[in-house]
Amino acid sequence: MKSILKWAAAAALSLGLLSTSAIAEDYPSKTITWIAPFSAGGGADRWSRTLSSVAFDVMDQAVRVRNIPGASATVGWGEMLKQPADGHTVMLSSPTPIIALVTEPNAPFEPDEAKIVAFISAFRGIILVKPDTEWSDWDSFVSYAKANPGKITLGSTFSEMVGAQLAFESEGIDVKLIPYDSTSDSVTDFLGGHVDAIGVTESTALNMVPEEAVALINVTTLPLSDEVSEKLGNPPHAAALSYETINFPRWVGVHPDTPDEIVEKLSDHVQAMLEQKSVQRITGKMGEEIIFVPWQDAQPQYKALVEGIRKAAPAITGK
């Protein structure tokens, strides 16, 4: 009896595998709904529409972009979870909804309820201070912060604050974190001398260094290119100092129960879309950098991102 059961189980498994393989082979078999969980006109929306413009050439199926914003991009994510786990509903997002889900005690789902297909881009986080301060390099900043805990204030949006806080925790320093809704607001207060330091993206840092600011450190896993690093005065890289670091990616995900075969195939399709000349031209004009990370590498990096956010969240939200 036991052997019959074993055979039956083996047969069922094979059939299951076969059917998954068969589905993956046909994938995509219909139009893909591509959720941009932010409003039209934003970064996720522009990336989605750029990729959708070449989707048919790459995978013989069209991609229909749907903007489903709301509740820090979690409404769109929730919509994806309601759809079948067949890879025909895809979402392109940023770390914003992860922060919302991690900081909310009664979140409707967990941030691991997505299977990552790929990272398509990422931005780097740089800490800036005023050129005329007495701690205008990372070492003196750390020394001052150790001697004066909670005295230095850093303003930034929540995303950039996560990377900064991980660097501060790695050094065991206490910097007062001031959350801002937008980078422009934090930069204005920084220029007015109302906060001592700011966390910004690479492109904002390039606008401000060297006249208005000095780059203290790159707090993300990704290193700066040689050219950018030189323009920013070669700031130290947190990863090279063995600090805990994360990346802030633009990620593409699907329903968590989607078979790996389909995820792999979609990951390849996304890579092929990114390699299209028109996509490279448009993203270049958008001032965005294509940084493709395939699904096998992106999934552990995504887990590290969620863990990093969980670790930094209490200091950021004061909970």
């Binding site: 914003p69 959350p179 204005t188």
Partner: protein, 510 residues
């Protein structure tokens, strides 16, 4: 900053190309249409048209985007006056006087006043921006979280003026606005609050569904309660051609000049508000309106006065130029639309930065010229639209009301394609209906809803920065102390105004 004559000449030749002028005109025309549609905002229009600019010369791209921006800011007032439905939140302050004039058959006067006061304040604030951008930017930088908190508290002290003689009802309206403003999550710790355990309320209630609900949908509900509107009336939709041919009286020069004081208030208040990050055109409009009402208690502002339209429209349009100041002076966008214009400059290879005056003087001068020329183009194109829309007041209400309802639903959905916003808008419509039935003023609700979360955010930031010491939080600079004194003065004047108006009314209050 010295004038670079070569760059100026080059900029003039770049702007006065037929291609640039045509795209600017197209931008204004589209912008007026977008602005008139509730829910669609200037930033949405600019975002959607941005890809078109990728292959345009820089001046043409700026012409299209600035045209869109200016057109849509004016367009918002068209539907506010014609349908009592603010096309954008910044036009909400125009509804009371503008629509009352429309109902009295003076729609054309109201639309012309909105246009002329908008263009005048916009033009003068642009000149101010051009002449003083670097100096203005330095002034703006002095306003940190503590100083901004006091500016916002100053705005709250003016709520009494927005309530008119209905002080108690005005305070009720403000308290309700304050409560609605706290819904969602707290701005610093992200702790959920007042959201009835509804996840989709996590981000709180956005301004467009609230404004559309309170001002437009409430009117639809009220009209539906009237049997003559619900019932199958015998009136027929007037022949469109006849409607368009009908003449109504436009604005006379002396009527425009009579409002110089209110336009001046709008220019001053709007320019100041535009300079400060995060406040925006809606705060500019309501503050100008409140200050004008306080300054001219006998002009009947709130009951269909041209002065009310002038103050509100000048107040919101005067923010347009100054919001670009941080972008021009530091390369930092001061508003969502300024960020998109900054994005267009990046795509043209002119990344906004503090070195823009040195690196790309011809682009900065082109931007300045386009800001000014755009106003003139807006005047002509806006007049054309005003002529058409002014006649909409003559459309029978049994046709007009369902149209307003449809626009409210479609416009709310179009704002972010979020169906939950339609639910919010309908609930706000019911609240607005209650306000109409009990004659409670809506303006305090809107201003408290907008200002209270901003004040909380700034106050808590100031508190964190000061090391959680309240004295330093509130009085950390001479500017903070001066603004605190201004708040006390405003409160005193407001109380005196209330007492005087009660005495005038023979002690009768509501």
């Amino acid at each position: 900053m010295s004038l670079d004559t070569d760059a100026l000449v080059l900029a003039i030749s770049m702007v006065f190309q037929i291609e640039t002028l045509l795209w600017m005109a197209a931008g204004i025309a589209v912008g007026v249409g977008v602005g008139a549609m509730p829910g669609l905002q200037s930033s949405t229009a600019v975002a959607l048209m941005l890809p078109l600019t990728f292959n345009m010369p820089v001046a043409t791209a700026l012409g299209l985007l600035i045209g869109l921006y200016k057109g849509s800011v004016y367009g918002g007032s068209i539907s506010a006056i014609s349908f009592a439905t603010p096309g954008a939140p910044e036009s909400a302050a125009t509804v009371a006087d503008g629509n009352a004039l429309m109902r009295r058959g003076k729609g054309k006067k109201a639309l012309h006043m909105a246009l002329y006061s908008s263009v005048t304040a916009d033009f003068l604030s642009d000149v101010l921006t051009i002449l003083m951008a670097p100096a203005l930017a330095l002034i703006a930088l002095k306003f940190g979280p503590s100083e901004r908190s006091w500016v916002l508290i100053l705005a709250i002290t003016l709520i009494g003026a927005l309530s008119g003689r209905k002080l108690a009802k005005g305070m009720f309206s403000a308290v309700l606005g304050l409560y609605i403003g706290t819904m969602g999550s707290d701005p610093i710790g992200l702790v959920p609050r007042n959201n009835f355990d509804l996840w989709w309320l996590r981000d709180g209630i956005p301004l467009p569904p609230l404004v559309i609900g309170v001002f437009a949908m409430s009117m639809v509900f009220q009209e539906l309660l009237r049997p003559e509107v619900v019932g199958a009336g015998k009136e027929k939709l007037a022949d469109v051609a006849t409607l368009l041919k009908s003449k109504s009286e436009g604005l006379k020069l002396h009527e425009f000049l009579r409002c110089w004081k209110e336009i001046g208030i709008g220019l001053g208040v709007g320019s100041f508000v535009g300079l400060l990050p995060g406040l925006g055109a809606t705060v500019g409009a309501f503050l100008s309106y409140a200050v004008a009402k306080q300054a001219s208690p006998n002009k009947g502002i709130g009951d269909g006065a041209l002065e009310g339209v002038a103050a509100a429209e000048a107040g919101n349009n005067a923010t347009v130029g100054p919001t670009l100041v941080p972008l021009i002076a530091f390369g930092i966008p001061g508003s969502a639309t300024a960020a998109l214009i900054g994005g267009a400059l990046v795509m043209q290879g002119a990344t906004p930065s503090p070195r823009m005056f040195t690196l790309f003087p011809e682009i900065i001068y082109s931007l300045f010229i386009i800001l000014l020329v755009g106003n003139v183009a807006n005047l002509f194109i806006g007049r054309f639209f005003a002529g058409i829309y002014a006649r909409l007041g003559e459309v029978p209400r049994r046709y007009l009301i369902p149209l307003i309802g449809l626009m409210a639903v479609m416009g709310t959905y179009a704002y972010q394609q979020n169906p939950y916003h339609v639910i919010i808008m309908l609930v706000m419509g019911l609240i607005g209906l209650g306000f109409r039935l009990f004659r409670i003023p809506e303006a305090p609700l809107v201003i408290a809803f907008m200002i209270a979360p901003l004040a909380e955010k700034n106050l808590r930031k100031a508190h964190l920065i000061s090391g959680e010491d309240w004295i330093t939080t509130l009085f950390n600079s001479p500017l903070s102390i001066g603004l605190a004194a201004a708040c006390a003065l405003s409160l005193y004047v407001s109380i005196r105004f209330q007492i005087a108006s009660r005495v005038r009314a023979g002690g009768g209050t509501e």
